[in-house]
């Protein structure tokens, strides 16, 4: 992934830092929540921008652009293209659906199982649920959840949804890597200024190493 996404990572980083710069200079966010949100916004926008033209990037940018407070950051990052994008995708109705609260998969599964249990309990053994039907139901539910997760996935179906999800997963991984590196960089720069470094965390290195390895 490194080889293919190298070039994208450069642009991503540039955009991210640009966004951070913009968001920092604009307002002085007091609370950490605000700062976190601005950072996340910059990161998402930078990722979407670096990725180029795909369905989910457009959807993400449009969705983020709907909110009022993000517009300045958007302008900063996108520049000229902001205007173009806003003009092109100025149908807010479509994306109102997307802003629902996301249910987690577990709660969904739980509710589905509960429903099934209820239905089977009521009807006893009369419920003839053929395995294919069950499989199809499961698949439909999963697909719905996936549609909510992937930005812009509500309007895709089948294979295009899967391809967008694939792309999105790759970009998310790249984004996470980049932010981790950024974090590491700040750590280096900060911890170098520190006289004493606590040695206690070093023992956790092995455990966290495996986690980091597994996720990388």
């Amino acid at each position: 992934m490194h080889v293919t996404k190298e070039f994208k990572k450069k642009t991503f980083l540039k955009q991210l830092l640009l966004g951070l710069h913009v968001s920092n200079s604009i307002s002085n966010p007091i609370s950490i929540q605000q700062r976190k949100n601005s950072i996340k916004l910059s990161a998402d926008l930078a990722m979407a921008f670096a990725r180029g033209r795909t369905h989910w990037t457009h959807a993400l940018i449009t969705k983020l652009g709907q909110k009022e407070e993000n517009k300045s950051t958007l302008k900063g990052i996108l520049g000229r293209r902001y205007e173009i994008l806003m003009a092109r995708y100025s149908c807010p109705l479509l994306y109102q659906k997307v802003q629902r609260r996301k249910k987690s998969v577990t709660s969904y599964r739980f509710s589905y199982n509960a429903q099934k249990r209820r239905s089977s309990a009521l009807k006893g053994s009369c419920v003839r649920v053929s395995p294919s039907v069950v499989a199809r139901n499961l698949e439909n539910r999963r697909t719905k959840v996936l549609k909510r997760l992937v930005p812009g996935g509500e309007f895709l179906n089948g294979s295009s949804l899967l391809s967008e999800a694939l792309d999105y997963v790759i970009s998310l991984k790249a984004q996470v890597d980049m932010m981790k590196s950024l974090w590491r960089a700040t750590q280096v720069s900060s911890s170098s200024n520190v006289e004493l470094v606590p040695s206690a965390p070093l023992q956790k290195k092995d455990a966290s190493c495996t986690i980091a390895n597994s996720e990388e």
Partner: protein
């Protein structure tokens, strides 16, 4: 509508036309020569089957991949980007790492290596020149007058004398570099419905299955699972996990943020090359941040990427000594890639902009501590204009 009377096969209706063009929309890029090359390597000289499992083994063989690789590198866009719609092309993708496959999916160009094109031309139905001579007999048919329309050939039970009819799809390609041909060329399987709808269904299903396989390879731990719903489940979990990680990392960065002053960003954006990134530290005499020290163990309990940070702390211990000696502004390179164990090589360097001398991205290097003005040990391929002249105490407010 085309009639191929000489073959005894009939053309498909316009419905297939539409279907093929809709298929075309999704995968523009995968060249049909995949199918052709597979055919070439298929020892039995049968057509490429749509079934993935039969194709997986030849796909994974190295000569196949070597051949596929030059096919995949988009050399020029002159030749027609033929559309390979479903099974054959996607199973070709399966032999590749997923990111390459994604690239391919989005690649708009078609490789036009003349040798490969020639070879593909032999199998192409539309090849005007040498088609009749060298192509296997069931695939050869006289090219229709205009090259744009393709068709599905449907063989019924009677299949050119072959005992076993394989359904193959190979997209037509125009070897002369003409315009793209959006159709597929399908031969029906024996015993299967030759209905256009079922064929379309099957093509769609194959497409979906191919994409699922790619996703399976991408998401860790998914390859053992069989069944669509469970794989989808894993994918969903993975996406949620990644999104949560982004949130968490942004929270961490937000906590770090007050220390980093992004005002100097612009200067660094201009000053850095594309290969190296820099971090500037300000004067090193910062009073110790007790908050920060206390915070680090807290973060370490929560964090996932702690290994990197631990490395940084160990390295930084040694670096401090150097730091305190140098009161000037220092630059160093930080390896931004996920080098796993020794990830924080630092280079001391004065205010010069160093180009990256070292080779690329994925090198892991030990850092060595040298005095100021040393050569860069590492370069990485990122622009890191994170600026900060890290001031002293006043910027080191940590918030939890």
């Amino acid at each position: 509508m085309w009639k191929w009377s000489s073959d005894g096969m009939y053309s498909s209706s316009s419905a297939n036309h539409i279907f093929c063009s809709s298929e075309f929309r999704f995968h523009r890029s995968v060249p049909s020569s995949h199918a052709h090359s597979q055919q070439k390597h298929n020892h039995k000289h049968k057509q490429v089957t749509v079934r993935t499992h039969t194709l997986s083994s030849p796909l994974l063989s190295s000569p196949m991949e070597d051949e596929i690789q030059p096919l995949l590198n988009p050399t020029t866009a002159s030749a027609s980007p033929s559309v390979a719609t479903s099974g054959a092309s996607f199973t070709a993708l399966l032999g590749l790492p997923p990111n390459r496959a994604v690239e391919l999916l989005h690649e708009p160009t078609f490789p036009s290596d003349p040798a490969l094109v020639d070879r593909a031309a032999r199998f192409s139905v539309f090849a005007a020149a040498a088609a009749a001579s060298s192509a296997p007999s069931p695939e050869v048919s006289p090219p229709p007058p205009p090259p744009e329309t393709a068709k599905k050939r449907k063989d019924g039970a009677s299949t050119n004398g072959k005992a076993k009819v394989k359904k193959g799809k190979h997209a037509e390609e125009d070897t002369d570099g003409e315009n793209k041909l959006p159709y597929v060329h399908v031969r029906a399987r024996r015993g299967q419905a030759t209905d256009s709808h079922s064929l379309a269904e099957r093509a769609r299903r194959e497409k979906i299955n191919a994409r699922m396989k790619l996703l399976q390879e991408l998401v860790p731990g998914c390859s053992k699972i069989s069944g669509t719903a469970l794989v989808l489940d894993e994918i969903i979990n993975h996406v949620q996990y990644l999104q949560r990680q982004v949130e968490y990392l942004s929270m961490r960065l937000a906590a770090v943020n007050p220390r980093i002053d992004f005002s100097g960003l612009d200067t660094f954006l201009s000053a850095t090359t594309m290969e190296c990134g820099r971090l500037t530290i300000g004067n090193a005499k910062v009073g110790t941040e007790l908050d920060q020290q206390q915070q680090q163990p807290v973060w370490s309990e929560v964090g996932v990427s702690d290994s990197d940070r631990m490395n940084s702390t160990t390295n930084s211990k040694r670096l401090q000594i150097q730091l305190q000696q140098n009161q000037l502004q220092q630059f160093w390179h930080v390896d931004f890639l996920n080098t796993q164990n020794h990830s924080q090589p630092s280079v001391w360097e004065r205010d010069t902009v160093m180009g990256s001398t070292a080779p690329h991205v994925q090198r892991e290097e030990q850092h060595s501590l040298v005095g100021p003005g040393a050569v860069p040990l590492l370069s990485f391929d990122r622009v890191n204009p994170v600026a900060p002249p890290i001031q002293s105490n006043q910027q080191l407010k940590m918030e939890l």
